[in-house]
Assembly symmetry: C2
Homo-oligomer: 441 residues x 2
């Protein structure tokens, strides 16, 4: 009855994606998609574990793992019942560790480590409740759910009382929307055609395939060379026709004046949004870009470090589209804050996904938002990239360009044991064999 967390096991899991130029963009030419992966084990005797991770692109994944281990003393020995009844209590302890806080605060390596652990706790909580995390959130009492948010530094934009009111309002019609979700899923868009390293032929083929698969929006990476971007954008527009939305993504490549100039140069192809036109830290810069490039929308968020920066992006009217990431900020609790802020400011959330496992995680947040918070999928889509899903026990299921509502309890975060055994760096079987191959060559 008094089960506790007994261990927090970590794995440095890396996939050699750079070899195929999958995931290449103007700032990230050779990512090796990686996960700093956490398993929480308990002595409850029910066999249930909590799995979570944060996403990196290769080097430094070991630092991320070390940062997760630095949180161990806050986690191990904690009552499982109390933890699952109030993940926010752990969130407060992790964010509040004053010595570790110095390394952020609430940003970068330490904050992503907190996100991995908090996500693992929600996975465990979902499994113990026998519900997928989206459903756990949908069924939660609004007062309790609002209490999961840390209002420090956002109270000038969102209070607990406002959060409760937004969540109560969100429940009106929730049962009907849950039915719709289970029937039709949640709309996605695909980035798979548009990686910078792909040829025009591959881009055209994959763009047509995306439309055939039911997607109504695709995305192209831009920002390395303007002439290339004009040619690729023309090819993409020709391939998909006028009615499919084409987002473009500069991955932080530009200064503000350059972002404005470049986006305007691509305007003839009617891009739907320009994503990450400049530094994710530049709130005022995004506001300037937005004023200058309308009606092209401005989107950012995958590298936004925490709720405090999201708050300001909304206060400053700097973005049309908020792209939260499931594993960049402090996990589910902070993402609840971000969803509530977006709902209050009525800005649509179109989450960042892809990488490894980000689609699996983030679908839960958008589905909760649709059923029990914003209540709509209007102008809302979750990014979809068709990489590495085969490594998960309960991978996302796409149907007609939509994410199908997960049925399995938990956060869809668990990888196959075979994957962990093969891709743990540097001693997993894949990496060991890889070193032998290069030695032999």
């Amino acid at each position: 009855m008094n089960a506790t967390i007994t261990t927090i096991e970590t794995f440095d899991i890396r996939f050699p994606t750079s070899r195929e130029l999958d995931g290449s963009d103007a700032m990230n030419p050779n990512p090796d998609y990686s996960a700093a992966y956490v398993v929480l084990r308990t002595d409850a005797g029910d066999g249930l574990e909590g799995h979570g991770f944060t996403f990196t692109i290769g080097r430094g994944n070991d630092i991320q793992v070390a940062a997760i281990q630095a949180l161990r003393e806050h986690v191990v020995g904690r009552s499982v019942d109390e933890l699952c009844a109030d993940p926010g209590s752990l969130n407060r302890d992790l964010i509040g560790d004053s010595q570790l806080r110095w390394l952020g605060p609430e940003k970068g390596v330490m904050h992503m480590a907190i996100g991995a652990v908090i996500n693992a706790v929600w996975d465990l909580a979902g499994r113990r409740a026998g519900k997928p995390v989206w459903k756990l959130l949908v069924d939660a009492d609004p007062a309790w759910l609002a209490g999961q948010v840390d209002y420090r530094y956002i109270a000038d934009a969102l209070t607990y009382d406002e959060a409760v009111a937004l969540l109560r309002k969100g429940r009106q019609g929730a049962a009907e929307r849950e039915g719709l979700l289970r029937k039709s899923g949640y709309p996605g868009y695909t980035t798979s055609p548009g990686w910078l390293g792909y040829s025009d032929g591959k881009l055209t083929r994959l763009a047509k395939q995306a439309v055939a698969d039911g997607f109504t929006q695709i995305k192209l990476k831009v920002g390395a060379d303007l002439a290339d971007d004009i040619r690729r954008m023309r090819a993409a527009r020709t391939a998909v026709g006028p009615d499919i939305r084409i987002a473009i993504d500069a991955n932080q490549r530009w200064n503000v004046p350059e972002a404005i100039e470049w986006t305007r140069a691509l305007a003839e192809f009617a891009p739907y949004w320009i994503e990450e036109p400049t530094s994710p830290d530049d709130i005022l810069g995004h506001a300037s870009v937005r004023r200058a490039v309308a009606p092209v929308k401005v989107a950012t968020g995958e590298h936004v470090q925490n709720r405090i920066v999201f708050k300001q992006l909304l206060q400053a009217g700097a973005i049309d589209v908020l792209q939260l990431d499931s594993a960049r900020v402090g996990g589910v609790n902070e993402n609840l804050a971000v969803l509530l802020l977006a709902a209050k400011y009525q800005v649509p959330v179109c989450p960042h996904a892809g990488g490894v496992g980000l689609c699996e995680l983030v679908q839960h947040l958008s589905m909760f938002d649709f059923v029990a918070l914003s209540g709509t999928t209007q102008d809302r889509v979750i990014e979809y990239v068709d990489h590495l899903h085969e490594h998960f026990r309960a991978p996302v299921v796409m149907q007609n360009g939509h994410y199908t509502a997960p049925a399995a309890p938990g956060f869809s975060a668990e990888m196959h044991p075979e994957t962990i055994a093969a891709y743990t760096f540097p001693h997993g079987t894949f990496w060991a064999a890889d070193r032998e191959r290069s030695t032999a060559a």
Copy 2:
């Protein structure tokens, strides 16, 4: 002639400062002042090394050390001549490592690691030139120095050409100011009386001592309890009289509305500035606080993550006083950007210092700014805290409340070998004996 960097040695150095309540504040009740310390060695045969560090407050210093080691491949094997002739080339490579960049970008653990390494390079460059770093900067060609700055993400506020013009203008009268600096030093202020853990008696005694020592400004930590702060602020004002400036520092304790209310409640004691009233990420929040609490000034910077946030604090008119830190951002190169931005916006820089070794480092930046950039010490003071200086080979020398200009070549960053041997965690002699003592007790 073709000397290269042969090793990058790192040390996890921690001091047990929490046992004395030195350094206690509203957010950091028990800091163990620590340094993630770097030594660059070469095969030049001249015995010269580069020493640098970033500052933390205890737990997580090992993660910081691991992050520095992750940069090793960019450093080891590099030509010493080329590196010292252009530290900016390394800065670009470190910030531009796309896989490591994902863990920031340019913030938190990875960025502080870059700061430690870049600071060590400037230490080495100073030693090879036979000059303290402030003098190396003062003597540098403006075009070269402006080329040390990364303008990505700040070009909307500062261009290379503007930087060159500011530096050229800064050289007018530089020789005369250098004479003044060598004669009278650079003004400091002291935080030593005002730690939150100190009794009113100790506060009063130390405040009076500070005035007797020639300081014209002291600082009090606030933010834990308003009644306490009113009592302590009254004691301090009584102790120092009306003509000494008393800054107050909340160390990020408040939400925006609370910051305004609390500062107004202390206004009767004429605080000079309120420091870190809220999150260092909250640019718009600081602007709101500043509008509401004038004529009390608003100061922040010790936790500002990079030049991009400083740029916005200046663009938004959010601060009266800019408190750069020598080891939080990416080292000397990024701090040149911050000093240039402050000069352009005509906001005085009053650096954060204290901790371990931050006084030693940052004096060089302020002295350069006085002699060859802003050209003034009007309303400018460097924080001074009288802790842990005895661990440095060339500690700061205070005279009549002023920092004396360092004469030794380099960045004043080098600790005594005995200090490193004793305080390296967890196996240094101090920590080993400490464990024995607690086992015996």
